[in-house]
């Protein structure tokens, strides 16, 4: 008993120190987000104060009202919702097929396909802006939401295929085989066994696709000309002008934009890392 006492005291001290460090890490990562929300609630006069208050003094929703009063804001929210929804649904369907092929089949050119999928991620987006614009014009999809969805689809796919591959590979083959022995065809075995078990992966991957489509700025900026078609990130740039930035409204708008993503992230965060890691460590 006695010899363990100092050791457990030392261990407690160590745990306390590490917890403190952990809290510091959490504070550093949460602070900018907190600061965004705090600024959004700070009245106009207080924002530019030389001594910032760490919590809003006499909080106001004036900045939020300003954002909500703009009809173009709601238009942008609608556009973003359509773009994001379409990107997520299409990306999941296409990526699941590919993930299945890579995780469950041997076929000629598989290594090449996997390498190519990784490779396309290396192409700098800035380099692709002009040619993608030209290509979309060729097929009559410039300045269109459809063109934007197709573009996002291409950017989501590499990561989505990779992640889903991990989830599919994590489903034991024996389960599928058992279903097939029991008389299911390959398609039925997939639908009844693999699909339900891959669902967490699909959710996690769709969050990734959602974040990309909801937050993307560069391509939306170049591909969409008409203000009617702008997505939320584009709409937000209205608050940044050459005369200065309306940080109150910008932070209020940003808070509204970030909110749906934060909620989804918190809901599915347990599954998020699974796909990247599945099979990568054990293999």
């Amino acid at each position: 008993m006695t010899p363990t006492a100092p050791r457990s005291a030392a261990r407690r001290a160590r745990t306390a120190a590490l917890s403190l460090l952990g809290l510091a890490v959490a504070a550093v990562w949460a602070f900018p987000v907190y600061w965004m929300a705090a600024t959004a609630f700070t009245p106009g006069a207080g924002i530019r104060a030389a001594t910032p208050r760490l919590w809003p003094h006499r909080p106001t929703v004036a900045h939020f009202s300003k954002v909500a009063a703009d009809p173009l804001f709601w238009r942008a929210v609608g556009n973003s919702a359509v773009v994001t929804g379409a990107t997520v649904v299409l990306a999941m369907a296409v990526a699941l097929g590919s993930a299945l092929a890579v995780a469950r089949f041997r076929f000629r050119g598989k290594g090449l396909y996997v390498a190519a999928v990784m490779l396309v991620q290396m192409v700098p987006h800035v380099a692709l802006v002009i040619p993608i614009f030209l290509t979309l014009s060729d097929v009559g999809l410039s300045d269109s939401i459809t063109g934007l969805v197709v573009t996002y689809l291409a950017f989501v796919l590499p990561f989505a295929v990779w992640t889903l591959r991990g989830f599919v590979a994590a489903v034991p083959r024996e389960l599928e085989e058992a279903a097939m022995v029991d008389g299911c065809g390959r398609a039925a075995a997939f639908r009844r066994v693999v699909l339900p078990l891959t669902l967490p992966g699909l959710i996690a991957t769709s969050v990734y696709a959602m974040v990309l489509a909801w937050n993307e700025y560069l391509f939306a900026y170049f591909l969409l000309g008409t203000p009617d078609k702008h997505t939320v990130p584009l709409w937000l740039t209205h608050f940044v002008t050459t005369e200065g930035t309306d940080y109150g409204a910008l932070m209020a708008g940003s808070t509204i934009v970030a909110l749906p993503v934060v909620v989804f992230f918190l809901l599915v965060q347990r599954h998020l890392a699974g796909g990247l890691t599945a099979g990568a460590v054990k293999g």
Binding site: G22, V25, V33, R106, A115, L128, V181, A258, L266, T277
Partner: protein, 310 residues
């Protein structure tokens, strides 16, 4: 006597024929849509970039007066003999090293820390990371711009140095950009590595501990080697993402970065749009891709291997 073999044979009879007997078309049908999209939206435009890089494209070509003319490797020669391009290239490489290096180091440290702290603390860290993860780069860059604002930036206030202009000196300005990137990249890295750590069998660690391995030795000889594939993947992705960093610098400088802020991405963008020299900008883009390829070849093989083992 045949019991152990019978199920295996039965299984192979049920399962193997469809994929072995003749060339199975299923996998090709399954990958076809993604191949189509990737070819149409990425490969075809990329091919266009390569062609453009061998052409002279200026204002005259854009407005259709004259067609583009092939000029051989003129664009590449012009680029490589331009001292500004060399400075930009060096800056991009250093910035990438700093961003990716810091992201990986901090991400790994946070993942290891998450293994050591009590549950409530881990939940706090996870929530903070997830919060940071879900913020769009556009938004996070604006937040950091606001936090480092000349007069009322909270960072200046906390450091007791207000007013302070972070952007007068490009080194400081790029340090802010690095902070935005690292802050945004650490959550993915930390959460993924944490999940990877959780997959390491406890017996393996226990056995090493029984053999007298200390914490440091355990980390170096057992944990990190097991995480190698994952670390390689995350490093590769970080380098790819950070090498093309654009948004953060562009937005921090409000769409008008000085030459001290040019990275390869911004350089080719400015050349293309302000200079209307698409040929030169495309050549810069092609060189960027080739450079990344050169760096990545080693890792790509490892990644292709992971992807190949189902």
């Amino acid at each position: 006597m045949t019991t152990p073999e019978a199920p295996a044979r039965a299984r192979s009879r049920v399962l193997e024929p469809p994929s072995r007997r003749r060339t199975d078309r299923t996998p090709y049908l399954l990958v076809a849509p993604s191949v189509l999209v990737l070819l149409g939206v990425l490969a075809y435009p990329l091919g266009k970039v390569v062609v453009l890089s061998f052409q002279h494209w200026g204002v005259g070509q854009i407005f259709g007066a004259r067609g583009p003319a092939f000029v051989g490797t003129d664009n590449y020669t012009a680029l490589l003999s331009d001292p500004q391009f060399r400075t930009v290239l060096l800056r991009t490489v250093m910035l990438t090293a700093a961003m990716a290096g810091l992201s990986m180091a901090v991400g790994t440290a946070v993942a290891l820390l998450m293994r050591q702290v009590p549950g409530w603390c881990r939940v706090a860290i996870t929530c903070a990371l997830v919060l940071a993860w879900s913020v769009p780069t556009f938004v996070s860059t604006e937040i950091f711009a606001w936090m480092t604002e000349y007069n009322s930036g909270v960072v200046n206030w906390a450091l007791g140095m207000q007013p302070h202009n972070w952007y007068a000196d490009a080194t400081q300005g790029l340090a802010v950009a690095t902070a935005v990137v690292v802050w945004g990249a650490v959550p993915l890295i930390a959460v993924t590595l944490y999940a990877g750590l959780a997959q390491i069998p406890a017996e393996l660690l226990e056995a090493a501990r029984m053999d007298g391995a200390g914490a440091w030795r355990l980390l170096r000889s057992v944990v990190l080697p097991l995480l190698r594939p994952l670390l390689a993947l995350l490093t590769t992705l970080s380098v790819i993402w950070d090498f093309q960093v654009f948004n953060q610098i562009w937005i921090l400088r409000q769409g008008a970065p000085g030459e001290d802020y040019y990275t390869l991405g911004i350089y080719s963008y400015v050349k293309a749009y302000a200079g209307h020299d698409y040929g030169l900008a495309s050549a810069a883009a092609v060189l960027t891709v080739l450079l990344l390829l050169g760096v990545m070849v080693v890792h790509l093989r490892q990644i292709a291997k992971i992807g190949d083992t189902p």
